[in-house]
Symmetry: C2
Subunit: 234 residues, 2 copies
DNA sequence: GGGCTTACGCCAACGTGGTTGACCTTCGCC
DNA sequence: GGCGAAGGTCAACCACGTTGGCGTAAGCCC
C-alpha cells in the first residue's frame, strides 16, 4: 500500500538505487521537468520517469502518493521558476504583463500541470506567493477589493488556460503540424468569397496568426480593460 | 490495419451489431456525447463506448482512424450545438457575449475536444462556420481587418481554453472537491496578515470566487477592451 | 554487538487503456 | 453462384498507473 507516501520531513536513510542514484523529492521533480522539456507531455510517464532515475516506477510511490501529487509538485516548481527573477517595478501594468508572460512561458512545458494548478487548490508555497504578489500589485495600483479579486482571478486562470492550450499545440509532432498546414491550404485558403466572404478577405492575416499563441494579445486586452476601469472610477 | 478507416461517403452495407444496433458516424458521436454528459471525461473510453453501442471496441476503428479523429468529430458536433439557435441581432457586443457563453458551455462537457479543437486545424464544417460568423460580426461592427483578426483569435482561443480548464475542475469527484475545501480552510484562510496581507484582506472575496469560472469576467473584459479600441479609432 | 523497527529499494502482478491482425458474415454486383 | 469488400467479432499485444510482498540496510536502544 503506497497510499501513505512519506512526507518530505522525516526521512532518514538514503539508499542508492540499482544504478547509483540517490533519490529525493527535488531530484524527481527536476528529472520530470527535464523529461517534459525533452520529450513533451506524452514522454512523461511513471515508468519512464523511474527508468530515467535508474529506479523502478513503483519506487516513486515512496515519495508521492500518486501521479496527482507528483503533478502538483511539478506545478509548484514551475510557478517557482516563473516567480524567481520577477521584481515588481512599481508600474502595475508593466509588472503584470511581465509576470503573465513568465507564468505562461513556465507552464508551457506542462499543460497537465497547468490544468491541475488552476482547477485545484494546491496550497503549495510558490502558488500562494504568486497569489499574494498579484493581489498586492492590483491593490497597490488602486483597485478596490472586488475589482482586484476579479481581475486577479481572470489573470491567473487566463495564464494557465492559455498555457495548457498552447502546450498542447507545441507538443504536436512535426508530421501533425504539416498535416494542419495542408488542411489549412486545402480548406480555409480556398473558401470562395461568395459563401465565406470574411474568411476569404482576411485569409492572409489568419494564416499569419495560425501558428502563434493568442496569449500576449489576450493579456494586453485584459490589462487595457483593467486600466480603463481604474481611470473611470478612481 | 484500421489506418484506412472508411470515410463517411461510400458506405453500402449496414450490418447490425450483436445487440441489434446499426452503427453510423452520427450515432457514435451522439453516444459519445451522452457518455461525456453522464460520466464525465474519464468515463469515455473506446472500450466503454463500444459497449454502450452494443459493439466491440475494435469496431469503432472501421469508422474512425483512432481516438484523435473521433475526438475531432466530437469537437465539431459540440461547435454545431453551440451555433444552433444563435442568431446575431445586430449589436456586436451582445452577439459575441452570447456566442462566447454558448461555446464555453458546449465545450464544458469535453476538455480534450476543446484542447484539440483549438490546437489543430480541423477543417470541419461547423468550426469554419463559427470562424466566418465571428469575423463577420467583428468586421460588421467596424473593426479594421488586423484588429478583427486579433480579437477573433483571442475570442475563440479564450473560449476553448477556459472551457478546457473549467471542465477539468467540474470533472473532479466530490471527494476531491471536499479535499480542496479543506486545504483552502487550512492554508489560505489562516494566512496571517503579517506575511500575506493581501490574501488575508480579501479572503472572503477569494473564497467566493474559488469555485466559479473566471470565463464570464474574462469575456466581459475582452469585450470592454475591444469596444474601447473601436471608439478611440472609429 | 544483537535485535527491533523502519525507510525504501525491487519484483511480479492486476486491471484498464488504445490499437491491431486474423477471421467470419453479409451485401451488392457480374 | 462466385467475388470482393464493408463491416462485424475475437484474441492478443503493449504501455499505462498502481499495489502487495519481499529483501535489505540504516538507525536506535539495550
Amino acid at each position: 500500500m503506497a497510499k501513505t507516501a512519506v512526507p518530505e520531513e522525516q526521512r532518514r536513510r538514503r539508499r542508492p538505487t540499482k544504478h547509483g542514484t540517490v533519490l529525493t523529492h527535488e531530484l524527481i521533480v527536476e528529472t520530470a521537468l527535464r523529461m517534459l522539456r525533452e520529450h513533451g507531455v506524452q514522454g512523461l510517464t511513471a515508468r519512464r520517469l523511474g527508468l530515467a532515475l535508474g529506479a523502478d516506477a513503483s519506487t516513486l510511490y515512496r515519495y508521492f502518493a500518486g501521479l496527482d501529487e507528483l503533478t502538483r509538485a511539478i506545478a509548484d516548481a514551475l510557478m517557482q521558476r516563473a516567480m524567481t527573477g520577477w521584481t515588481p517595478g512599481g508600474e502595475w501594468r508593466a509588472d503584470l504583463r511581465d509576470l503573465g508572460l513568465r507564468i505562461h512561458a513556465a507552464y508551457l512545458a506542462h499543460p497537465q500541470a497547468a490544468v491541475l494548478a488552476a482547477s485545484r487548490v494546491s496550497g503549495r508555497a510558490h502558488e500562494i506567493a504568486a497569489d499574494e504578489a498579484i493581489l498586492g500589485v492590483l491593490r497597490g495600483a488602486g483597485f478596490a477589493d472586488p475589482a482586484a479579486v476579479r481581475i486577479y482571478h481572470v489573470f491567473i486562470d487566463q495564464s494557465l488556460a492559455f498555457a495548457a492550450l498552447d502546450a498542447a499545440s507545441l507538443a504536436l509532432p512535426d508530421e501533425a503540424r504539416e498535416a494542419d498546414e495542408a488542411v489549412w491550404q486545402a480548406t480555409y485558403a480556398r473558401l470562395p468569397s461568395g459563401t465565406h466572404p470574411h474568411i476569404a478577405a482576411t485569409s492572409g492575416l489568419l494564416a499569419q496568426r495560425m501558428n502563434e499563441s493568442a496569449y500576449p494579445a489576450a493579456l494586453d486586452l485584459l490589462l487595457s480593460a483593467a486600466a480603463a476601469e481604474l481611470t473611470t472610477r478612481p
